[in-house]
Amino acid sequence: MARYALGRVGQALIVIWLAYTVVFLSVQLLPSDPVTIFLSADAAPDPAVVAAMQAQYGYDQPLIVQYLGQLAGLFVGDFGYALSAGQTVVERIGGVIGSTLELAGWAFVFAVVLSFVLVSVASLVKVRWVRAVLEALPPLFSSVPVFWVGLIALQVLSFQLGVMSIFPDGSFLSLTVPVVLLGAYVSAPIAQVLFKAIEQTYAQPFVDVLRAKGASETRIFFAHILKNSVAPAFTVMAMAVGALLAGSVITETVFSRSGLGQIVLQGVTAQDIPLVQGLVLITATAFVVFNLIVDLLHPLLDPRVLKAHPAAAGRTR
């Protein structure tokens, strides 16, 4: 087990490094460069100032030198300087990440709770049409553009009913509404996988045995079915990290919230390479860490995994 865990951690580090490298290379495709964009915002850039600035931030170096320099910087905690913001990358991202964590964190919690509630109610209620409606909800959630509902919700709640502030003022609704919209969107795949896993678990013979023993449906569901069905849902939850970020960008834009969303747009628009790199580092790490946790938990949740693939069980197997 320890060796398995160590191997997975090693793979995770390689994935982060590759992601970092791929983005470094693709950012080079962008048509301008950060210094020119930075300076042209003020006036016609003076070539001498451009050159001085490129030298100052190392943009005049060959690509490989820039890359290695950035990489080396990471090991001493230097994530570079975000020219477009006039701050270091750490300051820029650190200043707003709390806001994104608040939104994404609550949205994630809401998504998980919503999925489990939906699935539980659908499984326990014997009314056929209620089940059908509940089962139809997740696909609907994933089919609605978040920005579209968000804009309409703001228009109605803030301007027509006057119950919600248009500015993120820390009030209850100004956090709840974006959380609910983002959470519903993220809940879709979790709920869909849960529905499917539960269906498969119900089809197993042990359920009939339990029924024959006289166990109540509620007890069967919570004590046995759910327990045997959560493993795949955990996998999807870990995958949802990427979707949470993309969803946050949109949600933050719609609701004028500060956060990583602004940084993604600012970084790409101003072609601020260190900023984009810093961002990728965060998201890739989050993604990898979540998946690692799930992979390592997997054998505990579902003992069959280790039995089936003793060498290297996990998500990708």
Binding site: I16, S142, S143, W148, D302, R304
Partner: protein, 303 residues
């Protein structure tokens, strides 16, 4: 962007596979359940397929569905609400919004189609290689897939669209890269599952070479799952493209692309709700229908 596509995760669950078996409460009488399901599925297939066919018609024969001009507005008919003449109302330049949605369909479908194609071709090639080639290829490809998943697909799309001119091609490729991972993993899982089936192994033993076994057994059997993913992913791509349009990374006007229509109209949400709300509903409807249709296709083609 990979959100909403989950079949692969469940499909590779170890342990007893329930397969196509029925729902939770009628596990005992398999045959009638299957017959019943087939009938239900047909209805759903029909009910989702027919409107989709209609929307597909928009893309190929827009002139049949509207007589209005999607590009040139009538200055005297600016921002009129929905009416018999203008079903979705008119926009800030006096253009018929319904006509713009109809004429925008081909642009949207082309872009989303390209996105799905990129995901399908690259993804299934990787998946197939991963599942069939030697021992070291598999882990390498799987790590690459992890890398693709670890970089927010949204960011990739933004960079690609920014690096080239925004248009159907850059949008399609940018969004398509985001779905490579999903296709690759599904293909890999399916191929491995099918190859492990008894009769496929038997075909191997009976002297069929790898290629003929793949052609005769693996590809046709995996096609159902992949086809269904294709349909669902098409809807996901439409959403992704319209999200990019919302953020200002869409095709330049006046090309009436769905995302652009919504993005343009949102400015007038207070004064002319129809400009954004109704085209948005068309997107929701299309994506929902594609989802249902995709799941039906999957059930129909599963063996």
């Amino acid at each position: 962007m990979a959100l909403g596509i989950v079949e692969d995760v469940v499909a590779h669950q170890p342990g007893p596979t329930a397969g196509p078996a029925a729902g939770p409460h009628d596990a005992n009488d398999l045959e009638p359940a299957r017959a019943r399901r087939r009938r239900r599925v047909d209805w759903a297939l029909l009910l989702s397929g027919l409107p989709l066919l209609l929307i597909l018609g928009f893309a190929f024969f827009p002139g049949v569905f509207t007589s209005q001009d999607p590009l040139n507005g009538i200055a005297t008919q600016v921002m009129q609400g929905p009416s018999g003449e203008h079903w979705f109302g008119t926009d800030h330049l006096g253009r018929d919004v319904f006509a713009r949605v109809v004429y925008g369909t081909s642009q949207t479908f082309l872009t989303a189609g390209l996105a799905v194609l990129v995901g399908l071709v690259v993804g299934s090639a990787l998946g197939l290689a991963s599942a069939t080639l030697g021992r070291w290829v598999d882990p390498v490809i799987m790590r690459l897939i992890d890398v693709l998943l670890a970089i927010p697909s949204f960011l990739i799309a933004l960079i690609i669209v920014t690096a080239s001119e925004p248009g159907p091609i850059s949008l399609g490729i940018g969004v398509g890269i985001g779905s490579i991972a999903t296709f690759a993993r599904l293909t890999r899982t399916e191929v491995m599952r099918i190859r492990a089936l008894d009769y496929v192994e038997a075909a191997h033993l009976n002297g069929g070479n790898a290629w003929s076994v793949a052609r005769r057994h693996v590809v046709p059997n995996a096609a159902g799952q992949i086809l269904s993913l294709l349909v669902v992913d098409f809807g996901v791509a439409i959403l992704a493209i319209s999200s990019l349009g919302f953020l200002g990374f869409g095709a330049p006007p006046p090309t009436p692309e769905w995302g652009l229509i919504i993005a343009e109209g949102r400015q007038y949400l207070g004064a002319a709700w129809w400009m954004t709300t109704l085209p948005g509903l068309v997107i929701v409807l299309t994506v929902v229908l594609l989802g249902i249709f995709g799941r039906c296709v999957q059930k129909q083609l599963r063996f």
